[in-house]
Structures are given as C-alpha cells and as structure tokens.
Symmetry: C2
Subunit: 333 residues, 2 copies
C-alpha cells in the first residue's frame, strides 16, 4: 500500500531499522488461552469494572480513574483513590489497553488479568484489605452469584474469575476507524493535508521508532524517558524523580524506563507523561522531540504532529450501561 | 378492576378517606411547560449527569450518589462528596423522581430543574464555588458547546439550560412493569400469594394513607416522621435530630416533617429513612408500623409486607453510556 511504502521510505531517511507497520487497529483483541472472551464474562466484567463496591469506601470503581465515558482515563495528573488520596502516576487509558504488551506505566503486570488485581487492594487506590474481602463482599450479592455462574459456573466467585472477567471486558474496549485507520485502509481523504504532513514528520523525526504498530506502542516494550538530560525541563517537570521500571526491578540500568504508551486517542488523555505534569499535547510533542530525539521543533511542525495525533482518535463503541446488582443490607456508612 | 376495589375496600376498614389509586406506574413523566422533553436535551442531560467535571475536584458526578446503574442511589447512610466529606442525609433515588411532588428529603426544591442546581454548588457535595464557574468550565469543552447548541440553540450554555437538560434526562428514568404493575393491569399471577397478602396488610394497616398513587408517594406531600414518640428507638436512630421541613421553613409546626418518599424500588435502596440509619427493609417496615401507626407487627406480617415491597421493583430501561466530551487542557491536578 502507498502509506506503508511512504512510512517505510520516510523511516529509511532516519536510518532506523525498525519496521513501521502502517496497520489499522484490529477490531478484536487476542485473549489468552486460559481466558477466552465470552459474552457472559464481558457482561460480568463490565459490572465489576463499574462497581464502586469493589473499593473499601464504596466510592471508587475501576471506571473512576479509567473512565470509559471519557478517553479511558480521568484527565488528571494523579488519580483520586479512596479517602481522596492522590496517586503518583497519571492513569493510563483503558481503551485499547488490550494491545499493550505489558500493563501499568512500569509494566509490572504481564496481562490485563494481572493488572486488574492490583488497584483493588492498593491502599491509595481502591483500598480493599485483601481479595478475600472483595470475594466475601461479592458473594453476599445474589446478582453477582448469578452473573459469575453464567460466566464461570456454579460457586465460582474468586479473585481469579473476577480479574478474568474484568480483563475480558477490557479486551472489548477498542476504538477502531480513526481517520488514520481509514487512511491506511485506502481512504486518502480521511486525513487532512496537515495530518499527513504531521505523520510524515513524525516518521522522519523518529517518533515511530518507538511508537509504531497498530497501537503505536511498539515494537519495543520499554523505553527510557527522558533519554537526553535537560536540567531546565527537569526542574519544571520532575520527570526523573520516579524511576519507573527500576522501582520494580531494583536495577540501575532500568532507571527511568517506562512502558511505551499507546498514542491511540492521545488527544483525549491529557495531561501527559507518567506524572501527568504536562497539560497539553503540543507541549508534550515539543518535549518528546527535545528529550528523546534532541530536536527543536518549530511551532508549525508541532501543530502538524498534533493534527496527526488527532487523527488517532477512534470511534468509541456504543456501550450499554451495566445494571449493578443490589445488596439489600448496605455495606457502608 | 378487582384490585382497585380490593384496595379501596380494605382501606375503608381503616377508616381513612384517602383515595388509594391502584395505578400502574406511567411510562412517561409530564414535563413543565417551559422545559418540554426532547431527545437532544435528554442526551445532553445524561452527559452532564454522569460528568464528574461538574464538581470542584472533578471526581463527583450526580451519578456518584444517585447511581443509575444501581437503584438510583448509593446505598449509603450519608453520601460522599468532594474531599471525602459525608452528607447528613441518605441520597434519595433518582429513579421515578419525576413523580415526586417536591424534591430533596425536605422538599425544598419544587421541581427537578430546581433540584439539579443544588448539589453542584453545595460545599459538601459537588463543591463548585458558583454556577458561573460551572458554566465557564462547560464553555471550554467543545463537545458541550455542540450538545447545548443541539438542545437549546447557539451559545446557550447556562445554569438554566444545564439544569433543564439534567431534569429532562431524569424524567426518562422510570421503572415500569414491576410485578405490582402487572398485577394491577390484570395479570393476577404476577404477584405471589405472599405479596398479595403483604399488599392487603399494608392497606389494612394504613401504610397507603401516605404511600399511595402510582409512585406510592402521595396523596399528600409531607408527613411527620416519627409521628409517635418512642425514646427507645430514638436513642438508637436519632430520627428527630434532623428537623426536616422545619430546617427550611423555620416553623416549629414543620419539625420532623419530610417529603413522603416513593416506595418504588425500595428493596434496592437500603439503607432507609432520611438519615439512612436503618440498614434493612424488614427493620424499616417494623419501625414504620410502630412509629407511624402505633402497631406491633409479627415477623410473618413484616415478611409479607417486605415481599409486597419487592413487587415494587420495576424494570430498568436499558441505557446507553454517554460519551463525555474531551477537554484537551486538563482541569485538575
């Protein structure tokens, strides 16, 4: 296809050997062998995902910080957990997270299933003491007994099944048919001239060495950020304070390495970077060019790239609101 | 119809002159002359209702406390507002609130429009400093400019239009086709024998003197609670501490008067009473009989009435999740 040629040839200019796949976003996400996606799991997962009773206070659901009515996040620097506590990293979008190779900013979860288990018992997020407590709470709710039975069989409420259901639901959160997707499928009118210019500039600069593939989050898994030390910007944004991958591995060589985040719907997910310190997309583009590639972009180049990134905003599938099952004895104050 | 005769004749036994209308819940709510319901207003209202950006912290939406995925409330004694503050009254259900004669527990709002304006600027609920601030925030969001334009015309974002849209949405939140509704429409198999027994007992006791009409919240608007002083229960539940209507009017004769709440979906909206101090429906029934009617019910009678109240759980219409429009410069931390 023309676009593939164009991207590859433009890439060739940068000397990178990365393969840039000008691929449209798949409309289905692959599921692991031990958790095939079923309608019953998805329905249950959507309920659990939106149920604030999975938090100690009964006020915070997965959707509170990864809001599917918005761009899949909460548009905050730090998310607000139980008791108004504020987390240290900006919530990544749940949309298209099925295409991430690892989950969390520091990649500490290998799968959506593993990720789903984390925030529920994180003391500053959903604050449950243990998954045993979550399971005990769910078991008291007749509607959940039935929904788990449909999805996993009788008496199946557990951490394992709950996180599998949430992951199965998350695998349906895909936003296809962006202007870019239409463009790479052959509709040359789908992107504006400015967006095409921005795409070519992004490739020429080398952005797509790290942000490639259908979700613009590969081919690698982790990358260092910032690559280039810059005292001026560091003083403003504290990017290096959080050590990222090294906080998980304890290895010095992993310091300031992060999961490469998807660029899909990036126009909707301000603020930017792991600490959410950068409020606008034009500023984020400018900083990425400077700190990762050592390039100073003109305002026109930045505007072109932002226009291209706008072309990565997809179509959000219509979702039904789940009905959350009643618990006749209330759980909270 | 048989049921009407039955209810009226049973009522005659109690000597009450109230008209008990054994009416099914209407499937449409009447709208005020200055706010006819339109699809565009409902769509906008649903967005505003679910948007946490209508709160100072960006974490609390109307739906946080009046959760339409649940029974239209939050199943708490006191709701949790911005900064984890806890309100003094239990959130009433939004489902079928269109059929309330007045809004809020103390009836201080005459309409859904007036009600919608309140929590947004209440410092312990959604905490916005003023509606001017809300309007300024909404005006920055292009998607809202468009949605207001569709609903109300160009440059129409205001407190008046926002609250009208929310009210228009709320008028669609109706739960018809409960077992009771089917029963009064002629399907005698829709309620169990126990439910019919409970219904007749409720009428005989006089419950329906205050809880009658299709939403079981009339014929009057306000009633005193508790009617009968009882030191034992008062010590446990503090019912009289909050003066209700008198807190609005300042009149001694209004002390402990409350809007008669709907009994529709009451099985889903634990805990009970204005302060949410009673956690289960059987206890609430027992206390109502004792404190309002001076009657001591047997466990069997209570179980029958609870079974009848279960028959008032309606069908929740399928709702689409709204898409909340993005704001590219984030508003919060």
């Amino acid at each position: 296809m023309f676009k593939i040629r164009l991207l590859v040839s433009a890439l060739a200019l940068t000397g990178s050997m990365s393969v840039v796949a000008a691929e449209a976003l798949p409309t289905k996400a692959p599921a692991p062998a031990d958790n095939p996606t079923t309608a019953e799991k998805v329905a249950l997962g959507q309920m659990l995902y939106h149920d604030p009773r999975l938090s100690s206070s009964g006020t915070v659901s997965c959707a509170s910080c990864h809001n599917t009515m918005l761009g899949g996040d909460d548009n905050r620097g730090g998310s607000v957990g139980v008791g108004g506590q504020i987390g240290g990293r900006s919530a990544p979008t749940v949309w298209n997270s099925a295409f991430n190779k690892v989950q969390f900013w520091d990649g500490r979860a290998a799968s959506l299933e593993e990720q789903a288990a984390g925030p529920v018992t994180n003391p500053i997020e959903m604050g449950m003491k243990s998954w045993d407590d979550v399971v005990a709470r769910l078991k008291k709710i007749e509607g959940y007994q039935k929904a788990f039975e449909k999805a996993f069989g009788k008496d199946s409420i557990s951490k394992d099944t709950a996180t599998k259901a949430i992951a199965a639901y998350e695998r349906t959160l895909i936003t296809p048919n962006s202007a870019y997707d239409k463009y790479v499928k052959g509709d040359k009118s789908a992107m504006t001239e400015q967006q095409v210019r921005g795409m070519n500039k992004a490739v020429e600069l080398g952005c797509t060495s790290c942000h490639s593939g259908p979700a613009f989050n590969g081919p690698g898994t982790f990358q260092k950020f910032p690559v280039i030390d810059n005292g001026y910007f560091e003083a403003q944004y504290d990017f290096k304070k959080d050590k990222g991958l090294a906080e998980v591995t304890g290895k010095e060589e992993d310091e300031n390495f992060w999961k490469v985040p998807t660029l899909r719907n990036v126009a909707l997910t301000a603020p930017y970077f792991h600490n959410g310190k950068v409020k606008t997309l034009d500023k984020a583009v400018k900083l990425m060019a400077k700190l990762q590639l050592g390039k100073d972009l003109s305002d026109a180049e930045i505007a072109d790239i932002v226009a291209f990134l706008d072309a990565l905003t997809g179509e959000f599938p219509e979702q039904k609101m789940p009905r959350l099952p009643a618990y006749s004895g209330n759980t909270f104050n």
